[in-house]
């Protein structure tokens, strides 16, 4: 009798737990227009088309980290073995120092998952380099 009463409760809780866990595991959908505004934070060092004190970001998705010709990367980033994808960018942008210890990108990171998703959507939308 007790089992019959408790089982639906456990089942309900398990369902709620599943829904919450699923929601947490699903990365937020990025919006490139919002990402463009967030990208302004990067513009002390970076731009899409030009290498500056930081490397340019055009053609970033699919590129081996630390591989852009004409830019002097840190040994740590070159040796990281990372290939930039939505997932690797998400991890790096959350906490660059933790993702790639020794990186020269002295930035604490973008902590908000939605902001990261928006920023990554903007970077992905930038497409390949013009020259």
């Amino acid at each position: 009798m007790v089992v019959r009463r408790v089982l639906p409760v456990i089942s309900g809780l398990a369902g709620i737990f599943f829904l919450v866990a699923t929601a947490m595991a699903t990365p937020p959908q990025g919006d490139a227009r919002r990402g463009e505004v967030i990208y302004e934070r990067c513009q002390a060092c970076h731009s899409l088309q030009r290498n500056r004190s930081g490397p340019r970001h055009c053609g970033l998705i699919g590129r081996q980290a630390g591989s852009l010709e004409g830019y002097a990367y840190s040994p740590a980033l070159k040796a990281s073995g990372l290939v930039w994808s939505e997932n690797t960018l998400d991890r790096f942008l959350e906490n660059p120092f933790k993702a790639v210890p020794g990186t020269r990108m002295g930035y604490a990171g973008v902590k908000d998952p939605q902001e990261r998703a928006d920023l990554i959507a903007f970077l992905a939308a930038a497409g390949p380099c013009r020259k």
């Binding site: 302004e40 513009q43 002390a44 030009r50 840190s74 020794g102 002295g106 604490a108």
Partner: protein, 187 residues
């Protein structure tokens, strides 16, 4: 841009060079580089990397203001602002380079050339907007650097520079006829 436009502000800047040295020294003291060398010696390589990243951005800002000052597009008041702000960035760069050296690191050198979007600078407003974008980015960069410093005195010094960059950003927005302080929090 004729030389005439830049002579007076540069002389003015040179005339205040003594003040610049003093304020650089003040920031060094703030950073503990002069008074607490033993503690600074414990700063890890990560702090040197952060300082060098900031130094690289400051060097680029100096070069960017030079481009703006020599563009011939700035009125006298705007030119004076550009030269003054460039002077601040020179002070920041000087302090950052010295701090990196004091910590046992090697300061990054300015790039041989900078690839600025000069083709997009056609009027004074373009130059001011370009500078404002760099200053806004600098605010964000320092904001992202402050929490990372192992040595908290360095964080304090970086926050001091952040305040200066934020003032530049606000004044440039004002010069563009925009709301100088559009938000309560910077990000």
């Amino acid at each position: 841009m004729t030389n005439d436009l830049t002579v007076a502000p540069r002389r003015s800047f040179l005339a205040t060079a003594g003040k610049a040295t003093l304020s650089a020294g003040a920031v060094l003291l703030l950073a503990g580089c002069s008074g607490n060398r033993a503690a600074m010696a414990a700063a890890p390589d990560a702090d040197i990397n952060i300082l060098n990243a900031a130094l690289g951005a400051e060097q680029e800002a100096i070069a960017a203001y030079q481009v703006g000052a020599e563009s011939g597009l700035l009125s006298k008041p705007a030119l004076n602002l550009a030269v003054q702000f460039q002077g601040h960035h020179k002070e920041h760069a000087e302090v950052l380079a010295k701090t990196v050296t004091d910590l046992g690191g090697r300061p990054v050198e300015p790039l041989a050339s900078y690839d600025f979007p000069v083709e997009q600078l056609k009027a004074e407003a373009d130059v001011l907007r370009f500078a404002a974008g760099l200053e806004k980015g600098a605010v964000s960069a320092y904001l992202g650097a402050v929490p990372l410093f192992e040595e908290r005195e360095l964080a304090k010094a970086a926050a001091s520079i952040l305040g200066d960059e934020a003032m530049h950003w606000a004044v440039l927005r004002q010069a563009l006829g925009e709301n100088p302080v559009p938000v309560a929090f910077v990000s």
